[in-house]
Amino acid sequence: MRPFLILIRNHVFGLRTAMGELREQPKLKVAFVGGFSLCWLLGLSWIFYEGFAFLNQRGGVAFGLVPDLFTLFFLGLGLMLMLSGAVTGYANLFQTPEVKRLLTWPVPTRDLFYYALVKSTLMSSWAFFFIIVPMISSYGIQDGWGPGLLLWSAVYSVPYVMLFSGLGVFLMLLIVRWFPRGRTLGLIGALLLVTLITWAMNYVKEVRSSQSQDMLVLINFIPGLRLASQPVLPNSWMANGILAFTKDEMGTGILYFLLLCSSVGVLFLFLAKLGEWVYPSALQRQITGSTQLNARASSASRFLQYAFPGRASVRAFGIKDALIFLRDPTQWTQFLIFFGLLGLYFINLGSLGYNDLGYVWSNLIAFLNMFSLSAVMSSLSARFVFPQMSMETRALWMVGLAPHSMSRLMIIKFGLATLSLSIVGMTLSRLSTFMLGVSGHTALIGSVLMPSMAIALSGMSIGLGAIFMEVRPKTPAQILSGYGGTLNLILSLVTVILLVMIPGMVSHFMLENRFSPGMKEWIFPMTLLYIVVLSLFAAGLPLWLGHRSLQSRDY
């Protein structure tokens, strides 16, 4: 048997074992993840359904936009798959301990490359279940089609996922092998950033100047719609192929499907050859690449050493955590993607005309935005803040022996996490309320809510992280998947809902004049007090319990 097939068989065994281990997972965790996935699928299906229903009600031109929206949807999905393929491909080809071990075994590099390619494609296929299924099901129900449409789409998704994931691996391979490093990389990055900002500014200007209420010019409002509709792009084949089913044009549908399949075949043949040729040298470049930081590259380090304020121990952890964050792409890319997407959306609120909807609607959108922002803050604090206390136990020989208590370390970590989340949360919240032109009351609630949210989420994650501290060396993923990590995620989500929903309702009722003038006088300060008290409680209790746990434990 070829080494490639042996590796695949071994991977299948591993997956089977992992499925078996599901039974040993905490029930709370399984129930939470299962429930969350179900809610996600149902929630997204409902949103898509309402969207298609809206277009259906408008009829005519509005419903005629569906093919364009499909092409845009699949373009976005394709780009996400490409990014996912590049990231998972990089991890599978260059980073995992498995690759390092296999390199010492008699496995040809070619087989190793094929194996990593297949794994990356499989790992990128999540998009089908969590995004395509709700979209296609909703469209099918709205348009009166049965489960056949979903099955048809599932068949289409296989070559589509392979195509974009393969493209991601292709681009990643070129970057790893030939992309310049150091100063040139910085220069190229800066140029790209300037170009992107210039393009975004021009784009917003262009859209603002062509604003109209006519549905026909929707094409001008939605970024990338014109590009997505190009018939030479695979997303167009995917959209038209699926829609051919709803028009009873099976021949056209099969033609598009075969077009996708043949493209995948060509790409994978090309990738196989490229992998044989490029992968070994790219691998050598990765293994032997120097990480000697030159003076320019370590300028961030020197700047932080010079400028970071605070007492010595706060500086120590602040600088250390900032440097590790900046040098770990898995950390900063997640922040950049989530907060960057929200930022782009908030900047474009004016272009979408949401600021012209009146105070009541603007207020609702502002609170929905605060909820989205808080939900992202909650997931990032659960992912990055919760494991921090456990991760520091690896360096107990130094950190644990320093002349301060572990509780002080916990407070420092809490302070740093709160500060980081507050800065991002307040900036984006202010951007959202500014673009929406909301009332002063709503803006003030936002200004109090975001730092309070940062306090609540950081306090909860750090406090629970201290209570459920893992002293034995574990990866962040292992720490997160335990009971403490799951509990933290649930409690964070509950806190987000309680902190945003009540003030949101109060603010909405105030704008609808549902309160008497006497009531209005005290209900607003009470709302602010509610936010502060709840956030202090949500942070304070876990921190206090964490402090007690740290004092009484052995390391």
């Binding site: 990480t291 930081l293 050493q305 250390k320 360096a395 020989w397 052995d554």
Partner: protein, 239 residues
């Protein structure tokens, strides 16, 4: 100096340390020997404050480590057998982190860090990420970081694992030099030849109890028929 009095520690049904009494005077290099699981690392962890004893007192550099743990820790340096370094920091950044952590004067830290890296022959690698350093180089960074704040007591757990002869020599010379300058060092090792070579006194612990303690000559005199430390060690711990 180090003084341990009636130290006890139990993990469930296992008596890890049983009535340990030990005194190491200032400027002495004490070698703490014992088979695996004898209680060496637990004893060291109790001295560092990472593990709390069930009973007994610990005095380090004249400070009661159980009553004043923070003040005591400022006088202690600890090097475990498998120390962790932050992979995405450079040795220079790690030393600056250590300096801040031990509240050293801000202006003094960069200069001291550079001096320590030079002492350990790591100046050329000062700006290389720790993940790309060899085991020996990482060990040198760890010694440099531990000695940055000039501790009066140093606890070293298995300092010579995986080191090349140059690094072993460097560390042996360093330990000797620091004891001459008044530092008290308690070191565990399984390399008996090194204990013979550099230890001022040797203690052997087995099943949580200190079985024997003294200079090499005293131990040999007390155990007739044991010409070498190895024979002595085996005869005392092979039951």
């Amino acid at each position: 100096m180090i003084r341990l009095e009636h130290l006890h520690k139990r993990y469930g049904s296992l008596q890890a340390v049983d009535d340990l009494n030990l005194e190491v005077p200032e400027g002495e290099l004490f070698c703490f020997l014992g088979p695996n699981g004898a209680g060496k690392t637990t004893s060291i962890k109790m001295m560092t404050g990472l593990v709390r004893p069930d009973q007994g007192t610990i005095t380090l550099a004249g400070i009661n480590a159980l009553e004043e743990p923070v003040r005591s820790r400022s006088q202690v340096g600890y090097i475990p057998d498998m120390p962790f370094l932050y992979d995405r920091l450079t040795p220079m950044e790690f030393l600056l982190f250590t300096g801040d952590l031990y509240r050293m004067p801000r202006k003094e830290v960069p200069e001291k860090a550079e001096e320590m890296l030079e002492t350990f022959g790591m100046l050329e690698r000062a700006h290389t990420l720790c993940r790309d350093l060899s085991h020996g180089m990482r060990q040198r960074v760890i010694y440099a970081a531990t000695l940055m704040h000039r501790p009066k007591v140093m606890l070293v757990d298995e300092p010579f694992i995986g080191l090349d002869p140059h690094s072993i020599r460097l560390i042996k010379d360093l330990l000797r030099e620091h004891t001459r300058n008044g530092m008290t060092i308690l070191m565990t090792t399984h390399i008996l030849a090194i204990a013979e070579e550099i230890g001022d006194r040797i203690g052997i612990i087995d099943r949580g109890k200190l079985v024997v303690c003294g200079t090499l000559e005293e131990l040999k005199a007390a155990t007739p028929g044991s010409a070498r430390l190895e024979d002595l060690f085996l005869s005392l711990t092979l039951q």
